[in-house]
Symmetry: C2
Subunit: 333 residues, 2 copies
């Protein structure tokens, strides 16, 4: 029995391409003491992982070649040397892009079985929790305020806008195509959505936010952040969640004009966060989101590629804005 793996073959110096990865048939790992063998069911494809392939500082550490590409998965236990985990158990596992991995069980989190376990990579996983804590703990929206979210059709963004609406805010999305914008409004109930690739994007954003912006949830950085910054209301909050405009390059853009001048004049707050900071509130947040899902107030979009070998394509396309909702690679069922 072999273990199909996708390795980092070379580090990108410009835009990432599929041939920065290579597939190999490795040998089946043997779980040691206190370990379990996990079969990958689905892999989370995250724009943030691109930062880990850069030489610059990132919370993922320094990049290397010849290793399996990293990524969160939902996996099923095949065999276990820890009595707390048994064959067939569903777990969250940091297996990366491969069919099987042996892990110390302290690296696993047990998951309740549900109809589609891949939901634990999206709305019920780090993605949904990032949207939830970023919006409510960092953005601190009040009912009646205007929230704007960039990469609004993305994994985090499409949830943020819906949660803001549930909370009583006006929700405006920024996305990269008219088709995405249409779906945000017609399918998810966003109050407005604006295509940042249009020449008159600034004017369109202004019209979509007639009372200015109180909370800007930034998944992109770059020019989109710069534009939103100039529409912020006094005492506005900018949630710094991701920098997708800057990941796929070795020459990041300078920061937006208006930093720090506008922060002073308008008393703005810009705050970065990582979802892990809210670990002790995960369960409570998941329960709230589950209730919204059951009531149909929250809709989770999934954007699926099939087969492990599709992972490089799924990732490169994601960085170009090809996804709508949470992108995953389905490896096994």
């Amino acid at each position: 029995m072999s273990n199909r793996q996708i390795l980092i073959d070379s580090l990108p110096t410009g835009a990432l391409a599929e041939d920065h990865f290579r597939a190999e048939d490795g040998s089946m790992p043997e779980p040691g003491d206190g370990q379990a063998l996990c079969q990958t069911l689905a892999i989370s494809i995250d724009a943030g992982a691109r930062a880990g392939l850069q030489g610059s500082a990132s919370y993922a550490g320094a990049p290397r070649t010849g290793i399996v590409m990293n990524g969160s998965t939902v996996s099923r236990i095949v065999s276990s040397n820890d009595p707390a985990y048994k064959e067939g158990d569903l777990v969250s596992a940091p297996s990366g892009w491969q069919e099987y991995a042996a892990h110390d069980t302290r690296l696993l989190s047990p998951l309740p079985d549900i109809e589609d376990p891949a939901a634990y990579l999206g709305v019920l996983g780090g993605t949904g929790l990032t949207a939830y804590f970023g919006l409510f703990e960092i953005g601190k929206p009040k009912a009646g305020e205007t929230l704007v979210v960039s990469a609004a059709a993305g994994a985090v963004g499409h949830l943020v806008g819906q949660m803001a609406r549930i909370h009583g805010c006006r929700a405006v999305g920024i996305a990269g195509s008219d088709a995405k914008c249409d779906r945000l409004v017609s399918e998810l109930g966003f109050d407005a959505a604006v295509n940042y690739r249009e020449d008159n994007f600034r004017q369109m954003l202004k019209e979509a936010c007639p009372e200015g912006i109180d909370v800007y949830f930034d998944n992109t950085g770059g020019d989109v952040l710069g534009t939103a910054l100039f529409r912020m209301n006094e005492n506005g909050r900018i949630v710094c969640c991701g920098v997708v405009s800057q990941y796929d390059t070795t020459n990041p853009a300078p920061g937006p004009r208006g930093v720090p001048g506008l922060l002073v004049n308008k008393r703005l707050t810009m705050q970065g966060f990582l979802v892990f900071d809210f670990l002790d509130q995960y369960e409570a947040a998941r329960n709230v989101m589950l209730e919204w899902l059951e009531q149909g107030q929250l809709v989770a979009w999934q954007d699926q590629f099939d087969g492990l070998d599709s992972a490089p394509r799924a990732f490169v396309d994601l960085l170009a804005g090809g996804n709508t909702g949470k992108r995953i690679v389905r490896v096994a069922s």
Copy 2:
């Protein structure tokens, strides 16, 4: 009797110069109903007023020529049509650069008489309060943490560093000359001070902060902000107080690289504020600072020019970094 005034003669398109102002002998104002005639004792010279001479947005509103240059003063009542104010009373008055002004008394704040009323423009006025609330309410330093302040020999900066030390922090100043740096350490007890004009400024700042930066109090923006940003510790706070590097130009620099990427990776907060937000706590803060002054824990530097006609020179020189401590123009005693 005449009223000497300094007017805005033209708006700067590049660096501000003395000849953007002109002096005139106006007529003595007559206080109307509910007004008082105020004689200017001393004028506060603030870098932030430079922003008000730019076409861009500022909390001071749009700039105009042919009007008296704005500025806070300490003044004495000459005559009054409001029984709540009487001849000889000391007040804070928004008179700007002139010897006399008639004001609606609701624009005045009564001040207790002290040996040098000009202290109400510095440590006991908006300057000291800005240092106090910016540091404690926005920066939220903890004992043992490292605080860095830019424009550290300036009106706000020299107070911020001392307050941080009183609070148990390591205080590091950034200033524009070796002489200023020496005085910060030897006279005010800063733990270290670094000259940003030195070629190896980055390395010097790193060595002055061996445990990184927890709170960065930014009075400058620009490259100094960019450099400090890369030394911030996780969960660090950047207090956005002023942008002196950007005031004296019509072409502000782009924002620092690392915004928003580093804010995400290091969970940093950047927050702007205006001192007026803390109006209800002014008295309590003044009492704390008065106690520190009396105990000799806090030293307030005053940097004085004499005579109303020196105001343009005092202002232009301030923007070039010529001041050490709080710059005022003494008009009368």
